[in-house]
Structure formats: structure tokens, C-alpha cells
Amino acid sequence: MIKTYNYKRVYVWQLPVRLFHWATVISMITLIITGFIIANPPAINQNVEATNSYWFGMVRLIHFSAAFIAIAVALLRLYWMFAGNKFADWKNFIPYSKKGWKNIFYVLKVDVLLRPDKEHKLSNISIGHNHLAATSYFVMAFIFVLQAMSGLALMSETSDFWFTKMFAWVLPFFGGDITVRYIHHILTWVFMAFIVIHVYLVLYHDYIEARGETSAMLSGYKFVRSERIIDDEDYEPAASK
């Protein structure tokens, strides 16, 4: 019999992280679809009085509502960067250490360029985010801030909400509504490209490593080689209490 590795279940993604992830997924998909409808609406011209139809207004309402959900969960995630476990910590997302950079090069070499991994060092396999992925999330967070700011700024003119009004300065800062609207439109494509890359790489890792990369975002658990866990036979899992 060929010996396979022993894996142990590790609770990596806490509930707020997963909630943030899936709420973002739903709101982002909604935002992209409604965003493109707003940018270039289909001319569904029912022969009714304008008073009796409000479908385009509804599309905009859905877009704005989804945007506020995305911003709210992003703020929740920001809080959780300081309150959550070590995989949720803000330090993951900035490659400030030599170790972080080394891991970025490792992932680039082995997973992106598909070069052989000769060392097979266990520590190279990240338990939470790998450092390249984490850095890309940091970049995306920055782009999200830009996207949210430009969107809220465009909304600020017709909004009475103090939060939206807070971003009115963005319009003159970027030289008027046309430019801000354009930035908002271009960044949407960045999000779409990111979604493709992100989903592909998750599936890639799951396929290669076969330790539950995809389902981890549902259950919160990842499978980690038992050698990496201090053996504690007496530990009684909370679930069995």
C-alpha cells in the first residue's frame, strides 16, 4: 500500500471573512451587470407614459444598493483585519518581510510559471493566503476604494446621505464628472479581469494540491499536512463537547 499524507482540518477562514467574500461576490456581480446596463441601456421602449414605468430607475437603485452592501462588508473586513485570526490579519496583505517576498517569488516560479518545485519545502505552501494572492488583494482593495469613491462622488450630487456627500470633492479633484465617470467605467473591467484570474487560480490550487481550497471559503476549513500541526492528542474539539 502506498502511503498518503495525513491531513488535519484547520479553521482558516472565520465567519466574517466568508461573509465578506460571498457578499462581495453577489454585490460585485450585481454591480457589474447593472453597471453595464446603466452605461449602455437597452432601449426597451414600452409604449407607456413615462410616469408608469421606472425600470431604469430600478436598475440604478439596485446598483446603488449593491454598492452600499459591498462598501459595508468591505468595512467589516477592514475591522476584521485587526480583530480576526492571523490569516485575516492586515499584515498578510503587505509583503513587508523578506519571507513574504520569497514566497511571492516561489509562487511566481512554481504556480504561475509552472517550474518544478525541487525543494518540496512544506513552509512554501501557505496555509492562508499565499503572499502573491494576498498582495493582489491589497491592490484590488486599493482599486475598490477608487471605484467606491468615484461611484459615491457621482452619486453625491443627488444624494442627501452624509456618507455619500463626503466624496463630493472627488469630482473637481479628477477634473469633472466626465473623467470620474470614465474612471468608474474603466475600473469595472479591472474587476472583471481580476475575477477571472482569481477564480482560475483557486481552481488551479484545488486541482494541484487537492486540499479543499475552494470549499474552504464555504466551510472555513482547510486541510493542512499533519506534520505542520503540533500533535495534541488530548485536545478535545469544541464540536464534540
Binding site: 432601449a43 421602449n45 413615462a50 421606472y54 431604469f56 509552472l114 470633492w169 470614465y182
Partner: protein, 376 residues
């Protein structure tokens, strides 16, 4: 020229009644200017009083790199008093397009007025200021626009930039801006500047700012881009009479269509109303007769900075400047997204080849474990 001194000492009302306008005309004018300025009806009295008691404001109107369209808009105001309030005086002081004097006489009149009213006059600037090659691309009486502007601005109480050229640089500042045209605010930093953009601006708006200054003695409240809030505080879109069609999703897709005849929203024809701040949809043009959208043509956003580079005007999504080719963000986005998907597909295939040993190993373990499952 003798009339100049006499005129500056007159109040607006004296001047207007001397021209033969009735008291009724005057009050009507004051009433609707009050409305244009966004003031309460109860403020009519204050506007009337200001025009009755205050001396005419000395105004110097400089013309630089421009098409004179703003002056044209101004003198074509349907209500003759609108133009008279500002223009009649300027034509005597200095506005090289309309004044009777010419050559040395004109320059002399300007300098005289500037000297007499130093620190009190309003400087109106129409047109951008070219700065490249020492500013040789616009010279008047042998002096460059930069030079003239600096001189005129020195004694001005405030500067009003009439039109998108003076406010943002205008069409001549379009990429690649061969003459290095800049707006007034790039040159004059130490004076209050009120931007009244538009190509051209609405004449009632131009007059309204002057009247506001006259009535209250202060400049109107401006937004972050220096535009008076009472005229540029709203997007054309947000007070457009076709807005219900926008919310109902009723759009015209071509000019001669049934939808266009029904007056549906021009959003899909590239209307810039949703991104343009101006008073067109509330004030209208030519005494409120119409404005572009009402006439069936989408707004081109002529009062917005860089509107000249945000073409084509009839499309919602503009071309990306600096790219050299005609491409919108969507064209590029589709290529980028397509490349990403293709890249992922190629990577997926490459993974199966490059990692074949590991995959084989995993599969071997997996199959072996399957065979060794304990019987239940």
C-alpha cells in the same frame, strides 16, 4: 468718450430709464433676474433697490484667444436689459469687439478707466491665454495676452471668466494644445476668480453674476471648481424635463426615430447632461425659449472642463485620449478580458503538462486508497 465719465456716476436705474425703458420693464427685469439668481421672491425689492441706488460697476472686458461667441451670446439675449446692464457700460470702457473707439484711443480709454477705478472694477476675461513661445500666439496692440491680463488683473476687484476658454482653456487647449493655452486661473493666483463656463455661457447667467455682486456687494458662492453655485450647482440631467423618460428607460437611439419624435431621453445618443453642470435645463436659452436637449440634440457638455477632448460627442463612452487610435474603454476592456480568459485556459493546459508527475502521483495515491477502503 465723454459719456464714459458721466455713465460711471449713474445708477443702473438712471441709465436704464434714460434709455426709455419704463419702470414696469425695469421691475420685470429685476424680478426675473432674481429668479435666475436662485433668490427668493421676497428679494426682488433688494435687487431693485441695488439697481436704483448703486453706481454702475466699472467693467473691463478683455478678449484673448476666443471666437467672440460669448459676446455674441451676450448681445443676443432676448431681453435687451440683460445685455445693457453690463455691456452698455463696457462698450464705452473697453471691449475691443464692440466699442466705438479703436487703436490708441481704445487703449487710452481702457488705461484711463483702469486707473480711475483701480481696485474696484470687474475684469471680464473672454478667451484663453496662450503661453507657448512667450505668448506670441495672441497679441493685441503689440502686447501679449499674458502681459495684458496681468496688467488688467492687478487692479481688478474680481475676475469673471466668461466662457469655457477663459475658465478651462477651451477648444484651443485641445490635445496637443499647440499654443499652450491656459485658463485665467493658471496665470492669476491672487484674485478671486469666478468661472462662468459654457461655449458660450447663458447671457442671463453672465448678467446674474454681475447683478449678484451689485446687490450683495460680495461674489456669489462658488463650488470647488470656482463656478457660482446658483447657476452651476445642478447637473443638466437632474433638472432635465426629459428625466422621467430616463428613469422609465425610454431612450431614443437615432435622431429621426419615432422615439426621438416622442421626446424620449437622449442618453443613448451621447447626451452629456448627466455629467454637465449648467443652468440650461432650468433657465433655457434666448429668454427661456429652448435649450439643446429641448431642441432634440444631446448636450455636449460645453461647460465642462476638457469637453473638447471627450469626443465623439454623440457617444456615451468617449475615446481614450493619448492612445492614438480610436478606442473606448470597452474595446480595450474586451481585449484585456479575452486575453485573461485565454491566458487562464493556456495555463490550465500547461499545468497538466508541467505538473504531470505530481498529478500522476496524487492520482496513484488516491486510487490505491480507494482499493484499500475497509469493508463496512
Amino acid at each position: 468718450m465723454g459719456k464714459l465719465q458721466k455713465n460711471t456716476k449713474k445708477t443702473y436705474y438712471e441709465d436704464i430709464s434714460a434709455k426709455g425703458y419704463s419702470r414696469r420693464d425695469f421691475v420685470k427685469f429685476a424680478t426675473y433676474m432674481t429668479a435666475f439668481m436662485g433668490l427668493e421672491h421676497s428679494m426682488v425689492g433688494q435687487v431693485v433697490k441695488a439697481m436704483e441706488t448703486k453706481k454702475r460697476l466699472p467693467v473691463i472686458w478683455e478678449h484673448f484667444q476666443e471666437c467672440t461667441g460669448c459676446s455674441e451670446s451676450f448681445i443676443r439675449s432676448d431681453h435687451p436689459l440683460v445685455a445693457d446692464v453690463v455691456l452698455d457700460h463696457i462698450s464705452l470702457d473697453y471691449t475691443d469687439t464692440l466699442m466705438a473707439a479703436a487703436g490708441h484711443n481704445a487703449e487710452e480709454a481702457k488705461h484711463k478707466s483702469m486707473k480711475e477705478n483701480y481696485g474696484n472694477y470687474i475684469l471680464v476675461v473672454e478667451g484663453a491665454i496662450p503661453t507657448k513661445d512667450d505668448g506670441v500666439y495672441c497679441t493685441i496692440a503689440g502686447r501679449t495676452a499674458v502681459d495684458i491680463l496681468k496688467e488688467s488683473a492687478a487692479g481688478a476687484a474680481a475676475i469673471l471668466t466668461f466662457g469655457s476658454c477663459a475658465a478651462w482653456g477651451g477648444v484651443q487647449a485641445a490635445h496637443p494644445n499647440p499654443t499652450g493655452s491656459v485658463p485665467v486661473s493658471d496665470i492669476i493666483k491672487n484674485k478671486p476668480i469666478i468661472n462662468i463656463p459654457g461655449c458660450p455661457p447663458i447671457s442671463e447667467v453672465m448678467t446674474g453674476v454681475v447683478l449678484h455682486y451689485l446687490t450683495f456687494g460680495t461674489l456669489p458662492e462658488v463650488d470647488d471648481m470656482g463656478r457660482p453655485k446658483q447657476f452651476y450647482g445642478k447637473r443638466i440631467h437632474d433638472s432635465c424635463y426629459r428625466r422621467p423618460h430616463f428613469d422609465a428607460g425610454q431612450f431614443a437611439e437615432s435622431y429621426d426615430s419615432e422615439e426621438a419624435k416622442k421626446g424620449y431621453c437622449l442618453y443613448k445618443l451621447g447626451c452629456r447632461g448627466p455629467v454637465s453642470y449648467n443652468a440650461c435645463s432650468t433657465t433655457g436659452w434666448n429668454n427661456g425659449v429652448s435649450f439643446p436637449i429641448q431642441s432634440g440634440y444631446p448636450c455636449i457638455g460645453c461647460s465642462e472642463p476638457d469637453f473638447w477632448d471627450n469626443g465623439p460627442f454623440v457617444k456615451r463612452l468617449t475615446n481614450i485620449p493619448e492612445l492614438g487610435i480610436e478606442a473606448t474603454a470597452d474595446d480595450i476592456g474586451k481585449v484585456v478580458l479575452g486575453a485573461t480568459v485565454a491566458g487562464a485556459a493556456v495555463h490550465a493546459v500547461a499545468t497538466n503538462i508541467a505538473k504531470r508527475r505530481e498529478l500522476k502521483d496524487t492520482s496513484k495515491h488516491g486510487k490505491s486508497n480507494l482499493e484499500h477502503l475497509k469493508e463496512e
